[in-house]
Every structure is written in structure tokens, then in C-alpha cells.
Assembly symmetry: C2
Homo-oligomer: 348 residues x 2
Amino acid sequence: MTETNRQVQLAARPNGFPKNSDFQIAGAPVPEAGDGEMLVRNIYMSVDPYMRGRMNDFSGSYIPPFPIGGPMGGGAVGQVIQSKHGDFSEGDIVLNQNGWQEYFIRPGDKLNDGADPIKIDPSLAPLSAFLGVLGMPGLTAYAGLTEIGVPKSGETFYVSAAAGAVGAIAGQMAKIKGCRVVGSAGSDEKVAYLTDEIGFDAAFNYKTQDLNKALADACPNGIDVNFENVGGDMLQAVLHQMNSGGRIIYCGSISGYNATTPLPGPNNLMMMIMREVAMRGYIVTSHMHLMPAFYQDIGGWLKSGQMTYRETVVDGIENAPSAFMGMLKGENMGKMIVKVGPDPTQQT
Amino acid sequence: MTETNRQVQLAARPNGFPKNSDFQIAGAPVPEAGDGEMLVRNIYMSVDPYMRGRMNDFSGSYIPPFPIGGPMGGGAVGQVIQSKHGDFSEGDIVLNQNGWQEYFIRPGDKLNDGADPIKIDPSLAPLSAFLGVLGMPGLTAYAGLTEIGVPKSGETFYVSAAAGAVGAIAGQMAKIKGCRVVGSAGSDEKVAYLTDEIGFDAAFNYKTQDLNKALADACPNGIDVNFENVGGDMLQAVLHQMNSGGRIIYCGSISGYNATTPLPGPNNLMMMIMREVAMRGYIVTSHMHLMPAFYQDIGGWLKSGQMTYRETVVDGIENAPSAFMGMLKGENMGKMIVKVGPDPTQQT
């Protein structure tokens, strides 16, 4: 083959918010699959907040840092274009963990390194959905509401970053469970999306309103379950509003991801004692056993129209760094996706 | 009667650490019991960290503030000296919530205001124990280990303020459950007590050692369960050492009780996500259903010698404010108790 395989690599560890020069695009000839291997062409790749943590050199995390001069990585959907393994055929669509590159080689045998490609059924949903509502972000929301801080009918459920890939699914799922659902987001357009399109009972723009007042006004009966994506000042405001016996599903803390020095935590953690609040952090990969129920429930809600989703699709792997940085700034509505190459299931 | 009933009142709301002038001692004639009432003479009273919160004018707490110019209050053990209620007889020993005064009148009928006197059996234990190991502090430890963050055999259990009324019981109970038990305290004498007298596997003086290093050295396998009494920098150090799937029993946050402005929280709360940690605040009064099991278990461990306790007893109600302030500074070993009057069960 004479085609070029482009790969986005980590050029330097960001100091604070990432910049273009922290990334580099390397090109190499597209490789050939050896015995027992397959060659995959990526179609869509995911950019997610957790990737920011992997750009740091921090050994205490649950996943290793990206190597400097090596590929970034993460969820992607691709198509097998050459297979020398009996379990995979040319044309198969595979969910994989080899994003940020146009082509890659993997053994067809299970390496059990958490990155084994999985065949998916392209008739179930648009391919990009397997990176969002039917993928890791969807499962993150589903696991949070199923195993971490189970909201009950009639309770007030508050989610920050509510128009994001995880937040919008968490909020809709809480609504299906019978909660009064409140969300916050960083633009009036997103707020309108929450209340007018996906059925939130209340929502506010945290950038233009006083956070404590807006949250208190939107949650007149307090908060029973908080789906926490932001941390910092947001979590501090939430703690003031938590009801006795409340639960905090601690999913993310995006407010601190680009800090050059650690940001102080909420100054009112004592509220957790006074209000008898339980707060639990979790990682989606510890909840993979939920996958069958997840596909059944979310798939059913999508089919019935009880749940909908949005995506922001950026075209071209060369734009992956700016898509990633835009996602960290909240420029996306719903899941931020990068289209790496042609989608064989799409009409052109 | 011509005797004087002395009462310690809140004279002013403290700004920061309490001072003598925040308290005043008022005297009045000892009252007479009316129909259906009883007159109780207090023998021992408790000073506890939570009382500092009740000195503030803060409506968000689970218990109302003490009124200015009114009595402080809290756990005490007294003797009925006059009864005009059929359920109580002169000579009965009663656990009550009318501390900080020498005498008080209560109806014998249940008011269900959380402060009904309860008859106790003085043959079971020394009377002061009903304010410590067999009282609210003991139940606080017991509830934390039974219903909040259940430690399992072989796990590392770390408790801060470990030589205090709650910490020493929590640590010994974790040891009985088969944990490796580590504690910290604020003097070398307390550290020696933990390791030499009550069987802690390791302990350190947080005032003279680097907190992060001492904690890491004392917990080479990380922390599985943390019994958190301190908050602030202590909790931040703990979060760095928490193991995946760890639990934090969030009992108190004494480091912040005397702050004039709210102190920043731990800057590494994100570790709760990365290590999948669950942290749960609680209030002992929500766990009163444990009382029978608590008496049986702790009573049994005291009898078998598997558990021991210490008390620091200060004599005279006029010294209650200094005993309270000394407790906030950590001057006590084990439970801080004020002896208000003669103990009829004690040989003199």
C-alpha cells in the first residue's frame, strides 16, 4: 500500500490547558497485517475528558500516562480491511481502543489488555453512537445511576455538565426513573436544549448566573442525588443544597483537569456529615458486567424515543487536537466525535 | 432547699477558638419538682467536639445552636433526688442530655425531644463510662464500623485523632475485626498509648512528623478503610494513600471547627474517582437502633479485656469550659469528662 497512516502523538506534556504544540501528527506507511493479525481503518474516534489526565505524567492514576512521542489512544470505531485471523473478516466493524490514528494493527487473539477490538452490529445504531450513547459515556451514566447513587422516583436529581456526552444521558435516565431533573451547562443554547428538547425540569447557565443562587432556585426541595462531573466550586455549591441522606455520584471533576497546581477542594465538606451524604467515585471499566442490561435498557429507550442524543462531529484526524481542546472548553453539544475516515454505512 | 444550682451558659458566640469570656456561670436556687416531674443532680457531664458547632449561629446543622445567655447542653449522668413521677424513684441513675448544670427538672413522661432521661444500671460499668465507651462516643465508633464503612479482616484501617474518645474505640474494634490498625495522635504519649496499650499495629505523632511521609510509611499497603475525625490536611493526606475500593467513614472534621472562615477542602478529591473510594458522612443519632447490639458487643469486649478505655476527668462544673477547650486542643487522653458532683457508686 502507498497510503499514509496518520497518527496524533503527544509531543509534550501540557502545562495547564493543552495547546497545539503539545500534539504532533506523524505519518507512516499503512502497515500490513501479519499472521493472526488484522488491519483496521478507523472511521470515528472519541475525545473524552479523562484523556487530559493521561497527558500528565502521574503514576497514581488508574491508567498509565500517554508516552511522549507515542500515540494518544482511546475509543474508536473502525472497519477491518485486512484480516489474517479467523474470527474477523474484512468489512467487520470493530469498537477499539486505538483512536487518534487512521490505521492500526492488532492481533485477533484476545490480549486482555483492555483494548481488544469488539465486533459491533452496524444495523443497531449509527456507528458514532457506539462512542457515545451506546458506548463508554452512555455506560458511565448508566453505571452511575444503577450502581453508585441510585435515584428514586420523586427525588431531585441534579447533574452538572448536563449537555455533555455523559450528563445528557444521566439526566434523561433520571427522568425515566421518575426524578425531578435539574441540570447546568455553559451556554444558553445548551440550557434550552436541556429544558426544551430532552425534558429537564429546570436548567441554568452557570457562567452567567450566581451559582449558589441559581442552584438553590432550581432545586427548591434540595438535591437528593447529584451526578457530579465538574468538582471545585460546583461541588461546593452542591454540598450546600444536599438533602439529608443524599448521594453524590462522583464521576468527574473537569474543573481541575487543566490546573497547573491542585485546586482547593470544597470548603464545606462538613455538610456531608451534617446531611449524612454518601459520595462515591467510580470508573466505568469496573462496571463492564452491566453491558447486556445497558444495551437492553438504553437501546430500548432510544427506540421508544424516551431518550435522544446529540453529537458534535469534527471532520479529519488533523482536527482531533482542536476537537479535544474544544470539548474541554465545552464547545460540544452532546458527544464530541472526530470523523477519521469514510463511514461505509452512511449515504453520501 | 438553699443550695445553689450552677449552670454554664453561652455568653457569646466564639469567633474562632473559644475563650473564657464566651462562657458564664449562672447560679440560681435548686428548683423543686412539680407533679409528674423529677429533680436530677448531675454527677458527670460530657464535653464533645460537636458542641463547638452548636456555639455558632448556623441554621444548616442537624441540631439547633445553643442560645446566648441560655444553658449549654449535652450528655450527662445524674441521680434522681426528688421524683413526682411513678416511673422514676429517688436514687435512680439517669443518662440525660442536660449537662453543663448541677441540677435540672424534667418531666418523667416522654417528651420525645431527643433528651428524655434514660435509667441506666450502675452495676454494669462505672457511671462515667456511659458518657464514653458505653455512650455516644462508643456508639459513634460502633455505628461507623457497623453501618458506614465496614472493615474486613486483613484490611488496613487508619484512624485520625486515634487516642480520643471515638478514635480509640474505633481502632480497637477494627483490631477485633482482624484489621491492621494504624492511628495518629498529637503527642508521643498518645502514640505510645496506641501501640503499647491498646494494640495498634502502627501509630505516629502528626504534629512532629511530615504527615504524608508518616502516613505512607505507616501504611505500606495503603489504606482500605479510613475513620476520619479531622478533615483538612489530614483528609488530603489520607486520600493520597487510599486503596482502590476504599471507604471513608466521615465522622468528624475537628480541624475546621474553630475556623473563622471556611477552610479549603482537600485538593485531591479526584483520588476518590481514580481509586473508586466511597466516603459517607453520618450522625450517631441516626443509628440508635444499634443500641442493643452495641451494648452486647462492646460490653462483651470490655469484659473479656479485648477492649479497654481511658478517661480524662476534670473536677468541678466551674472547670467545664476549660475542659471543653482543652479537649478541642487534644489535651485529653480518651474521653474528656467533667465531674459535676459526688459519685454515689464510688468509694471515697
